[in-house]
């Protein structure tokens, strides 16, 4: 059984039909990259997967937590969100808290983890992203790349079953991109289930088990990245690859 599975997923923004029946299965440990043109619905799809956007039809299931249109109350949402971590393009760290406190907060508040234990978790997670020595630094004292790594640590501290990453290197200066991609590569290597949207095509081809090409709110083509790049099955994906260079 897949770890993450969506079926008949539909989303409207007003009259704009943004997701048009998405069926997506992600196995445990799989790394899935979603690509597509601007406005094709990539972010919207990721955001529905942890309830940041409501859905208008269909069902989302993650590790036994189910979200349906008419059964998406606050507790169902929180249940889903405990299993799905998210990292954002703009980091979104809490500016009034140190890096360590940023990572500790959710375990303490949401899981009622005792402070001492939460601090141990935070130190472990910061070490995992290579920032053990930045525990007491505040977000505005960190580079963009460091902030994004803290944001990854913050998501990991809740032990999510799957991590969503929406263009997490797009807001970074070019020289800081690699340190963040390095962390993602390492997570993939450790068997973390990842669903990401990225424009770093080389990176996507290298780490992904599955590539998903979205076009006009649908999954237009998907498969193994090497195979898809070598031999696009649809004209739209071929033209998308063409537009990359």
């Amino acid at each position: 059984m897949p770890l993450v599975s969506t079926n008949r997923l539909h989303k409207f923004f007003g009259t704009n039909h943004v997701l048009r029946g998405i069926k997506l299965d992600v196995e445990e440990g799989e790394v899935v990259t979603i690509v597509g043109r601007s406005g094709s619905g990539k972010s919207t799809l990721l955001r529905t997967l942890n309830g940041l956007e409501s859905i208008d039809d269909g069902v989302i299931e993650v590790d036994g937590a189910t979200l349906e249109v008419d059964r998406a109350d606050a507790s169902a949402l929180r249940n889903l969100r405990q299993k799905v971590g998210m990292v954002f393009q703009q980091f979104n760290l809490f500016p009034h808290l140190s890096a360590g406190q940023n990572v500790m907060l959710a375990p303490q508040v949401v899981k009622r983890t005792p402070k001492k234990e939460a601090e141990e978790i935070a130190r472990r997670m910061l070490e995992r992203v290579g920032l053990a020595e930045k525990f007491d630094a505040f977000p505005d004292q960190l580079s963009g790349g460091q902030q994004q790594r803290v944001a990854i640590a913050r998501a990991l501290a809740m032990s999510p079953r799957v991590l969503l990453c929406d263009e997490i290197t797009s807001a970074l200066d070019p020289e800081l991109v690699n340190e963040v991609l390095g962390v993602v590569r390492q997570l993939a290597g450790e068997g973390m289930t990842l669903i990401m949207v990225t424009h770093e095509m080389r990176f996507a081809r290298e780490v992904s088990d599955k590539l998903v090409f979205m076009h006009e709110g649908k999954i237009h083509e998907s498969g193994h990245p090497q195979a898809m790049f070598a031999k696009p099955a649809t004209a739209e994906f071929a033209s998308f690859i063409g537009s990359l260079n």
């Binding site: 942890n50 940041l52 971590g85 979104n92 009034h96 907060l105 959710a106 508040v109 949401v110 809740m158």
Partner: protein
């Protein structure tokens, strides 16, 4: 004809003046603390339109921001007894100050909450925070930090406004000044001194608010 300034009355009334200052400071500390707490409650109720508090707060804020403080005070002190609620002067004075400051700080703090970047709320949402947890742990401190200077000014304004509580014989600083002036007829000297004392109090309150802001709200470890 030159006017001869005469401040020789001051030592005789030093004790009274000190009591007036203490009274005014007491009103300010209690009124400021409770007023800001009411403001936090009002800000969150209005931001999320929590029923029934959100709409109730809306009426309350409009009422108190669009009527004179003196009339609010009279309504509480002279009006409420008709409804069977009889308050001592100091109780009426504190209540009026709390309600007045509560109304203003509701709007000030609300502006701070609304300035929370959406991304921070979404980050907390994505970590499975409840709405209250988002408010308490993510929004409140940065919001207070942002509006603390405005809030401090409002507390000072409220303190200065407390001088009208002399009208219901609450024995704060202006009441004492009026009393002294009625005894010595030295209006200029008495009110000059009172002005200087209010000025000093305002500086003190501002400093205190600044210190509270630094310790309670920023709380950054020194490094």
């Amino acid at each position: 004809m030159a006017y001869h300034f005469d401040f020789t009355f001051v030592p005789d009334y030093a004790g009274m003046l000190a009591q007036g200052v203490a009274y005014t400071l007491g009103l300010t500390v209690v009124g400021g603390t409770l007023g800001i707490l009411i403001g936090i409650g009002g800000a969150v109720s209005r931001t999320w339109n929590v029923r029934p508090f959100g709409p109730l707060y809306g009426y309350y804020v409009e009422l108190f921001r669009n009527t004179p403080f003196l009339v609010q005070l009279f309504l509480i002190f002279f009006g409420l007894p008709s409804l069977g609620i009889k308050l001592a002067e100091w109780q009426a004075a504190i209540l009026a100050m709390v309600l007045n400051l509560g109304a203003y700080s509701t709007e000030i703090i609300r502006a701070g909450l609304q300035a929370t970047p959406r991304g921070q709320v979404e980050a907390a949402d994505s970590l499975a925070f409840t709405r209250w947890q988002v408010f308490l742990h993510v929004m409140l401190r940065p919001a207070l930090r942002k509006v603390w200077p405005a809030l401090s000014s409002q507390v000072v304004i409220t303190m200065l406004g407390s001088s009208v509580c002399s009208q219901i014989s609450a024995e704060e600083l202006t009441f004492v000044a009026n009393f002294i002036q009625s005894r010595n007829f030295r209006a200029f000297e008495t009110y000059f001194l009172t002005t200087a004392m209010y000025f000093g109090l305002a500086l003190l309150v501002r400093q205190a608010m600044h210190a509270i802001g630094r310790h309670l709200i920023v709380r950054r470890p020194s490094r």
